[in-house]
Every structure is written in C-alpha cells, then in structure tokens.
Symmetry: C2
Subunit: 365 residues, 2 copies
Amino acid sequence: MSRRKPSIRDVAALAGVSTATVSNVFSGRKPVNDDLRENVRKAAEALGYQIDRAASQLRSGRNRIIAVLVPDLIDTFFATIVSRLETLAFEQDYDVIVASSHDNRSVESSRLKALLSWRPAGLVIVPCSHVLPAELLDVKDRLPMVLVDRVSTGNAIADTVTIDNIDAGEIAARHLLERGHRDIVLAVSHSSFPPLAERVEGASKVVASYVGRRPRALELGSNVAAGAKIFSDWLERNPLPGAVIALTNVTTLSVLSALAQHRIEIPSKTSVIAFDDYAWMSARNTGLTAVRQPVDDIASMAWNRLTLRMEEGARRRAEPTVLNASLVIRASVKELSPSEPAEFGKDGPPGEAAPGRGEDVKKIH
Amino acid sequence: MSRRKPSIRDVAALAGVSTATVSNVFSGRKPVNDDLRENVRKAAEALGYQIDRAASQLRSGRNRIIAVLVPDLIDTFFATIVSRLETLAFEQDYDVIVASSHDNRSVESSRLKALLSWRPAGLVIVPCSHVLPAELLDVKDRLPMVLVDRVSTGNAIADTVTIDNIDAGEIAARHLLERGHRDIVLAVSHSSFPPLAERVEGASKVVASYVGRRPRALELGSNVAAGAKIFSDWLERNPLPGAVIALTNVTTLSVLSALAQHRIEIPSKTSVIAFDDYAWMSARNTGLTAVRQPVDDIASMAWNRLTLRMEEGARRRAEPTVLNASLVIRASVKELSPSEPAEFGKDGPPGEAAPGRGEDVKKIH
DNA sequence: GAGATTCTGTTAAACGTTTTACAGTTAATC
DNA sequence: GATTAACTGTAAAACGTTTAACAGAATCTC
C-alpha cells in the first residue's frame, strides 16, 4: 500500500466518477445526485481521503485562513481575544494562524509579511504601536482586516474595534474621587500607545477638574518585574499616594508586586484600581476593584466586522467600533470617611488624621 | 494597473530570467550568479512580489506549518507554551497555526482534522484526555509530532514532553509535612487526566506514609467559578483543613476564590500550595508558595524534539522527555510551631491548641 | 587538446484542486 | 412533437510554484 496520501483522483476512480464531481460533493458548489454523493462519500471514507487545502487554495484563489497578529500571547488579554477569535472562526470553517510581535516593530513587520504570504482571507491585528507597519498599508484595500485595541481612534485605514479609553480612565478616576480620594497616581506601561494615552487623559482630566492639577502618571513598561522595580523605587523616594490607578493589566501586576514588597496593605494604606478583570483579582481576601474591558465582546465585534468585510469586499468606509469598559467594584478602594478628609478637602471637619497613617496625607509632589 | 498579485512569472519577465531562476533565488536551493540574483531581487521588490505559499507547498510537498492544538488558550499555561513555540518556530521560518479543543474530545477530533488538512510539517498537541483522538493514530508515523503535558508517560505513540507529575505532587506534600502539617486536602480539576492522577498519586503516597491514610482529593473541574462553588460548598459541610494543595492553576484560583469568599486567611487559618507560577501569585501580601512547572523548558524541549523528528524522519523510537517541577517558597504555608502539634503528632508536647483556631485541628473526614 | 566535470541557467512537467466550457438527459413550454 | 430550459455530469485547462531533465559554457584532468 502506497504511503502517498490519496488525492481527489483516487476517490474519483474508486467512486467511478470524475474528479469534478468529487470536488462538487465536498465543496457543495454544484448539486450532485444523492446516490452518487453517497458513493463519493463512501469512497473518500474508505481511502481516508482528506482535501489538500494548499491545492484548493491555489486553484480557487479563495481560502479559509484568518491571520491574527498580537503583541504577545502571554498577555491574557490578547490570549483571550485570540481564543475567542479562533472559536468563532472555526464555527465558520476558518483556520487561524497566529503570530506575535513581542511589542517590537520590526518583528511585527516581519511576522506580518509571513502571515500575508499565506494570502489569508482576513486579518485581525493588534498593532504594537500607533504607527502601523508599512506592509499593512500596502494591502489595506485588498485584504479585509480589522485593527483592535492599540489604535488611535482617528486612524481610519480600516475597521477598528476599541474600547472608549477616555471613558475607561474617567470611570476609574471618578470612582476614586467619589470616595473622597484626591491623592491619586496613575500607572501605565507606555504612555505613547494610543489607548493608554487616552486612558491617562481621561483619568487626568477628571482628577484635574476636582483637584486643580493633573495627577502624576508613572511609566512602568510592559514587563511585570521591571515595572515593579520602577514603582518600588518610586515609592521609596515619594510619599505614599492615597490611591493608584493601574491602566494596564501588566501594570496592575507591577503595582501590586511593589506594594506587596513594601508590605503596604490595600486598601487600608493605599487604594488600588486594577485594569482588566481576571480570575485572580477576585481570588484574594480583598478583591480588586477593576476597570473591566469587555474582552469577549471585543473579539466578537472584531469577528463580525471582519466577516462583513469578507463578504462585502472593501467597498465601504472604514468604520470604528467603540465598546465601553465598566467598573467592577470590589474591595480595594477605601471609602474615606468625613473624619478623614482628603487633603484638598475644603469642607471636611478638622478631625485628626487616622492613627498611624500620617504618611497617607502628605502631598505627592 | 492590475489588481492581481504579481507571480513568479512577472518577476522572471522583468528580470529577464526564467521562473526557475527566480525560484532558486528565493529558495536558495541552487546557487545563482550574484548580478542575476540582484536583478531578481530588484524586480521582486519593484513589483511587490510575495511568494504564494499555497502554490509552493502544493508543488514541493514540503511546507512550513507547525500545527498546535491545545485545550484552551485562555489557560495561561497553554498560552505560554504556544507563545514560546511560535517564537521558536518563527526563528526557523515556520508558521504556527493554532487551534483549541476546549477540553472536548469531539471538538478535538474535528480541530485536529482541520489542522491535518494543511499537511503541516509538524504537530504539537496537548491532548485533552488520555485517550488520544483517532486521527492522531492514523498519521502517527507519517507526521512528526510531540505530545505535551496531558499524556500518560507509558503512552509511547510519539515523543512526549511532560513534567514528573508524581514528583510534583510529592514536593508539595513533603513541604507541608516538613512544616508540621498533617491535615491536608488535595484539589484537582479532573483526576482522570493523566498528569493530574499522577500528581494526586504522588502527594497522596507521601501524605499516607506520614499520616497513615491518604488525603482527601476534591475534583473542582476546569472552570474557575464552578470550582470555587464546589470547594465553597465543601468548606461549609466540612471542618477547615489545615492545608490545601491545588494541583492545577485553575484549581488554585478556585480554591483561593472560595477561601476569600469565606474570609479565611492564608496562611494563618489554612495553608495553601498553588500550582504553576504566575506573576499574580507574588503580587499579593502573602505570596503563594507554588509548584512551578518549567513552562519555557517544556516548550523548548517540545520544539527540540519536533525539529529532530522533522529532520530525521520517523525512523527512531518514540522517546519521553520528563522535566522536573520545583517548589517556589513564599508565604502561604504556615510553619507549625512545636506548641501547635499536628493532629497525628506522636511526640509533640501536649501544649494547648492555638487560640481561636480549634477548628483547625479537627479531623477531616 | 580531448574528455570529463562543474557551473549556471532554461524548459517543461508536475503538484491536487477548482472551474469553465461543453455534452447528454430529462422536463417544461408552446 | 419541436424548441427551450433545467439538470447533472465530464473533460481539460488553469492556479503559482518547484524540480527533473537537459544544455551550454567554463574549468579541470591527464
């Protein structure tokens, strides 16, 4: 018995039909008589026939590959998106080929080039910076694609799916302010990334409008340990802030790490708002209050947009989809009582500071 | 100007050579004169030529796809493996096409079939149960592959990469026993999965040899919330154990969730050993002592084995690779002092139980 | 300097599908 | 009962590569 995989010709021979008929049975492009179809099925089964997608794609020009390029699969946020996309794609008989750029623009370019050489039917990309890889521009009106997350909203070269990052920042800031916090610092990975700049902007504006000045924003990078070190060093050189808003899930980890290292308790010593909503955030004694991105919805919308494009072709204006983040309230934000006025409080009673927490009410500079 | 992508023929025409020469320039299979090569490069550049991998694969039979099938990308453990594999593969110019089985055997079969139709050069699979999909057996000596993680070690249909799960269980149990714990329960997702059964076995044996009876093992499933509910219910109907060993990363989350929900403090009220080592485990005030799987090494070894197979062909016995887990000691295990003898202690002084922790020393049933 | 060898390039035949053009049969219409 | 239309199947030509077979020129060997 030959080791070679059976081809459509073998099936045709065994079933006593032409290759075209076999093709039609499998692709369903033309109707085939019931008995014949059954014969073909049987023959294929007997031979263990499997269609060769390379040949199929070559001839038809169409194909069933969705290319997905994300900064890093280790980041649960992106992994979740890929996972959802893969599931959705599979339901419609697409396969997903995945690559990561590791937040490196030249890697991004080269990965993108590789992905493109598969002539995918569609592309979902989370760019690693706001400046899009050149390869993308080349194919932008030949290839259905959608840009997700790391996109400046004005950036209309293709459909986009993002969250309202300004709002996300505002939500967090407002929550803190409503609970009496005034002494707030922001932690972010790279403030040059479009969504992050917007989150910072949203939070800062709100804080500034209450407090009279914009909060300090710390850049912690996108590595947990390195970020923890930076934040830890900062903590040592500065008075403990009343609250910190982490604007990224890895930043959240960095902040938490540094805080733990200094044995600073949450929320009694300082309050924390986390970003993204993962299982581990609630699996602790003081659950983390967090800004939740609707990650499943992001993936679904990206898929919707993409399928629409794939059906309709490129003739249609690029359209942005903006989803809303929400606040999951747990226990990491302290409710400041009237006897513990915020430092800028204009109206609070002159009661004494909370015992043993004098450092809490110092100004951050 | 035509919208059609330029083919090798267009490049050949522009460069004034044959298509074969162009092919040789790009594949490097035959040497090409320097000037000519430069010409071809220029022409390709000018036209924006990109090789069509489908055509290439069809003709050559060879290809550069690695298929990866894992239970679920949402699980950071698997995502990390995929991420590493993708990086390693890319360095050698392979692309990764990824699919997940969602721990469902029929999905696994159907995904596998789809992956196989790409005629990949290699396959890395984390099976979702110990019974391997039939499709795998069909191709086992035609397709280089390596089985990772969820594999019974005896299962020698192909190269395997696993950790020593018995040892992993033992490590955790021994750590607890050495610190005076005797009242230990095990938490696991599905004890039918090969590696989990072994972890349970390892831990149980060690505990039994100290304590005289095997510890209770709870099945929490592979969904965090559902598992938390199960464990929470169990906690209500049973005395609080002195320590719990989670033998899976999602189980860890379930246990922690339930414990937090009941406001049971770690390690003062009960000790916990976590499984896998993630950033969030140290980003808390009481860092989690955890059994760490060498996930990067697992991925690297899998890749090594796979490339070896791809080069050598199938002629060689299937070989298991077993790596070792290690214990990362942090703060979630209480050091029982001599005045708090373990319940079965035969030699401890008859001192009184720790104040307010009477429930701690009750037997689990 | 004749024959063998090595280089370097070309021609043309694959690879396994899909699809166009066509043909034969049957059903529908007038 | 002739003409059309609708079905259902086939033959053969693609699709864009790679590669076996070949060929011409240059180099080597004796």
